[in-house]
């Protein structure tokens, strides 16, 4: 029971971090149709900005300033890069963001070096919040969950209740009409891209010190973010939320499952020895395969339900 509860909490908190990462990507995709390959790079610079700011004025100001800075970078990218590329179609946009990811990584190398930086959890959040049976649960994980959930509520309210949110939604389906009504649609797109980047930046501020802030962190999370967006349904925020939690919990629990095909066949009364053909494959336990499971899920999803969990577009 203890194991189940703790793993559930771990899975949910990991899933919520994944959601923070993928929310921006899915919003940008649904609003602008741009598949942003550089999204994870914004996550990385969020972490680095937060590290830099926190060395001067502490973690709390960094929590606010770093995402804003990342958002500003995102807006600049949209205004001076993407907007120009936009007229050449989606392939050009895709290639642009692909190149941008490399550019950001190299810039990080130049500015902060190739090794990891010492970006740590602030002392006020370091420690345990409560004890469940015998396992202590760290404050920081709860903090991560709180930030993520408030972000979800924030995005939802902005998109459905605020004026700018209504304009954004209208600009999606009827850009011409919105333009005729006197709204600056390119500016709306710039705000959306900046906002999406800022969300990734926020995830970086939180994830950077929970794990490791190093130049490879963008490449490490890049693929999984795409898996979430595909599994959740391209462009669906709710879908991304469900998919993040699903993958977070799936990965956490699969680590604990030490079953392999050998065990399965043993139950059926068939023994597979180490000399059997493909023995290494049969002997592979679920826990060893855990890192691959999200990708397996994505492939299966694309085969059986191409539009994803909550996607509206037919694949």
């Amino acid at each position: 029971m203890e194991f189940f509860l703790i793993s559930m909490l771990n899975g949910i908190s990991y899933g919520l971090l994944l959601f923070m990462l993928s929310a921006g990507l899915t919003i940008i995709f649904s609003m602008m149709g741009v598949l942003n390959f550089a999204h994870a790079s914004f996550y990385m610079i969020g972490a680095y900005f937060a590290y830099q700011i926190s060395t001067y004025i502490g973690f709390w100001p960094a929590l606010v300033i770093a995402p804003l800075l990342v958002g500003a970078v995102g807006m600049a990218v949209e205004r001076y890069g993407l907007r120009t590329v936009h007229k050449y179609g989606h392939v050009a946009e895709l290639l642009f963001t692909f190149g941008l990811a490399y550019l950001i990584e190299e810039t990080v190398h130049l500015v902060w070096g190739r090794s990891s930086v010492e970006y740590r959890v602030p002392p006020s959040l370091d420690g345990s919040l409560f004890t469940l049976y015998t396992t202590t649960y760290p404050i920081y994980r709860v903090f991560m969950m709180a930030v993520s959930v408030s972000m979800l509520i924030g995005i939802y309210l902005t998109l459905t209740r605020s004026r700018i949110g209504l304009v954004i939604q209208a600009a999606l389906t009827h850009p011409q009409t919105v333009e005729t009504l006197g709204h600056d649609v390119p500016r709306v797109f710039m705000l959306v891209f900046g906002g999406g980047s800022a969300l990734a930046g926020l995830a970086g501020v939180i994830g950077g010190n929970a794990f490791v802030t190093e130049p490879g962190m963008a490449a490490a999370v890049g693929p999984i973010v795409f898996v979430i967006v595909v599994v959740g349904g391209m462009g669906s925020l709710a879908g991304a939320f469900i998919a993040s939690l699903l993958i977070g919990v799936l990965q956490t629990f699969s680590v604990a499952l030490d079953y392999s095909f050998v065990d399965l066949f043993a139950r059926l009364g068939i023994a597979i020895g180490p000399d059997a053909p493909l023995a290494a494959l049969w002997d592979l336990t679920i826990s060893q395969a855990a890192p691959v499971l999200p990708y397996l899920l994505m492939v299966l999803m694309l085969i059986f339900r191409p539009k994803g969990i909550m996607g509206t577009r037919e694949g």
Binding site: E2, F3, I6, G11, E118, P138, V212, T252
Partner: protein, 430 residues
Amino acid sequence: MFKLRPTHAALFLVSALFAGSAYAETLKIAYIDPLSGFFANVGEIGLKQFQFVADDINKRNLTGGPKLEMVAFDGKGSPQESLIMLKKVIDSGIRIITQGNSSAVAGALIDAVNKHNERNPDKTILYLNYAAVDPDFTNSKCSFWHFRFDANSDMKMEALTTYMAKDPKIKNVYLINQNYSFGQAVSRAAKADLARKRPDIKIVGDDLHPIGAVKDFAPYVAKIKASNADVVITGNWGNDMSLLVKAAKDAGLNTPFYTYYGGLPGAVTPIGEAGEGKVKQITEWHMNVTPNKTEKFANAFNKKYGGPPAYISFYFLRGNIEMYMLAEAIKQAKSTDPKAIALKLEGMKYAGDEGEVEMRASDHQLIQPLYISTLAKAFHNPKDPTTAKFTGKDKEVKYDQENTGLGFKTDARIEAYVTAQPTSCQMKRP
């Protein structure tokens, strides 16, 4: 068509002299290790140490001639990248390489060096391995061109399990390792050794996780907790080690960790106070061994290169041993030719800071004493203001790690001859 004139002859003579001269002014040594990415912090420490010891060798002219110069190549911790770097090394005419981080990389390098040397007997490469400890490299895959200066993983496990077997309280053991040749070797050796020495001990978990890819170890820690393990054995290194102990601390896991690399710079900070009495390591040296002949050298290094970041501090004594033995071999051979050096290194005995070490000729495995040590509170000396933050009472723990107030205290010293194990190596000499 071509008349031989005296000037030509002189030119030929001079160029022939240079080409044949194996005793160059400066001898470059290529350092191939991760200098970017997840494991870059480990590679960075190694590079600085090698540069520091090379400076020392040059100052004291231990080679009896050529100056040593380290040239860094970023292998990124990946076998493919490291092979590309090896190609660059070969193209730039460097004939000696040193590498340590990841046995996956080392395995690829050994194969590539063997092939290259077979095809280019006049341009051979010498490979000095300071940390890749997959036992195969000095057994089934042993090579004349490869020399290992670190005790291999089986030797370390033998020592660790002998120590553990004496503790009757240990009933359940959990293994967690990186899923590649080295991690698998640790897991295999732990199971075999414990079954032999303490058949009553149960292995309650045997995890192999992908190397350098797990950011969140909380699920593994929950699993360790649920298994009721008395002891965890891990060969994890770099960020795989620090993230693991960090997750263990966060979850309040009280189980002692028997590690290979618990003292590798960067690993002590995340666990902090919670690691006291719990994190054990097996190494050839640590900062609080007594007597500590390396103390002066280590302090000089830390003064020049030591943090910030706090994790940069002297760690690899074996790196020094490697370089001093290399210098000695060059001096004895009066040559910088890899084959001449290799022939001198084979069977060489060297008086190291921790006693005599021997590069065993049969498999090129260095036989050296080892230490098992545990994290303890560093000694608070009222007369020494630098120890103001320390709270410990044990004089032996003179230095702390990474400004944590915790340092290593020796549990046991294992003499060199005890660590030696038989080898299945059938060395092919050129």
